[in-house]
Symmetry: C2
Subunit: 271 residues, 2 copies
């Protein structure tokens, strides 16, 4: 499994990815799922990958070869980020088609998904998620992030914190918290965690981190978040029935009496 997230902010872009790849639980390895392509002072792309490893490696190779060969169409020729996403979607579909029949017969799927983010010239930085079928979506002010892979465990914190005006550093921290929640709940998502911060109009990586499981910052972030979540939890409002229990400090007391009609569970049988 995989977990990757990319965030589009007023200040720039943030990318994070785990590095665990598995083909069954007894075949687990570490592969980077973050790849960057730069044309100095002119364009920068960051690619995150999920799904079939053979497909995503083949697509990355095609991207590199097209760049090296000065091909008619490549990441260097795309005029817009959406054009680059379309090109990537086509490569993805083509690579999948090569092995579709054989894989399907064997009960596997060649499906791969990508997140492509970056900036071309004076266009706004942008992020796209490319589906296995080659079509793609981008972010919106209400949903300034895109996820691929095991996305559910880590989504609530992104929903709560991220807005286009969030700072790059806060968004990077939010992505790490989201990654931590995912790793706790799904063992097929694992370190090292790669993190890349891109500041708008810089056409270079602002910050790149590769955090192993025992990296001091990651350990401190996990410890602090765990402690603060527990503290926050302890301050939640008490139920009315707890009022009698003295010695219990609680932020607020709110009545838990149903304000409409009192309902009992639908079925109540007595034997």
């Amino acid at each position: 499994m995989t977990y990757c997230v990319a965030i589009a902010l007023d200040e720039g872009l943030v990318f994070a990815s785990d590095s665990r790849t598995n083909a069954g639980v007894d075949q687990v390895s570490t592969y980077s799922k973050m790849h960057s392509f730069e044309v100095e002072g002119e364009r920068l792309f960051v690619l995150l990958t999920a799904g079939n490893l053979a497909t995503s490696q083949a697509v990355i190779n095609r991207l590199k070869r097209d760049l090296d060969d000065g091909a008619e169409e490549s990441l260097a020729t795309a005029r817009h980020m959406s054009e680059a996403a379309e090109y990537l979607g086509r490569l993805n579909r083509e690579e999948q088609e090569k092995h579709q029949e054989a894989l399907t017969k064997a009960g596997f799927t060649p499906d791969a998904s990508f997140i492509l983010g970056g900036q071309i010239d004076d266009e706004e930085p942008a992020v796209f998620m490319i589906y296995p079928q080659g079509n793609f979506i981008t972010t919106s002010p209400h949903t300034p992030f895109l996820q691929i892979g095991e996305s559910k465990y880590g989504k609530p914190i992104l929903d709560r914190i991220l807005m286009p005006s969030t700072s790059l550093a806060d968004a990077a921290r939010c992505a790490l918290v989201s990654m931590d929640s995912t790793m706790r709940s799904n063992v097929t998502v694992g370190p090292p965690i790669e993190m890349l911060v891109y500041r708008k109009d810089s056409f270079a990586q602002d910050h790149y981190l590769c955090l192993e499981a025992d990296h001091p910052y990651l350990l401190e972030l996990k410890r602090a978040w765990d402690e603060k979540i527990r503290e926050a939890f302890c301050e939640l409002p008490a139920f009315a029935w707890e009022a009698a229990q003295s010695g219990r400090r609680r932020g607020t007391q709110v009545s838990t009496k149903p304000h409409r009609k009192k309902r009992k569970p639908a079925t109540k049988a007595r034997g």
Copy 2:
């Protein structure tokens, strides 16, 4: 979709369920997914349901009919909670088989899952999750909760907070926070939220709440949690690169320099 969670604690049991049922996005209705069966002073069962509504309603009816008819096997005759879970699993399979062929032809599935919790006589209270195939699992000290339906969004907070020694009230709050995170991320999980707290050896419902979306306690809990999560987030340790930014209050500063080797993203092509 559905989200139900049951928690087994030293002090007793906590159950929570949403009430949204949908057959496609244009056919959404409200059904209780929580059902209780009591034999006064002797046994109490709480049932949570997920999956095909026709199957779960049929199973509930069978449970009630067997109780009313004084059947040879019923929730009133089970000697152990695991025996009750086995009986429920058999009813579930039988009800599914009745319509399996017709539903499969039409592209539907009769699958339903259940959580059955409760206490029989002087046995320890227990919770079981019953799969569509009729087999079942219970909790453990390391995993004192079971979930059915849309379980991923709400799992991280349960993982962080719950232990067998957690109080009934804290576990009930934790279940509500878990439910709130799930409802934010998946619109097919919705209010009212039902919550039932069972205190060990009481053989009666300790507390039952049915919280509509605008219930004062639910609103206050959501507001408080959102605020406290943001506060907690703001206190997370800063990255080393933020050190230069003055005027920014941060709890701790931890070096983000990789402590092993410095790694760059795997691919770095220049066009």
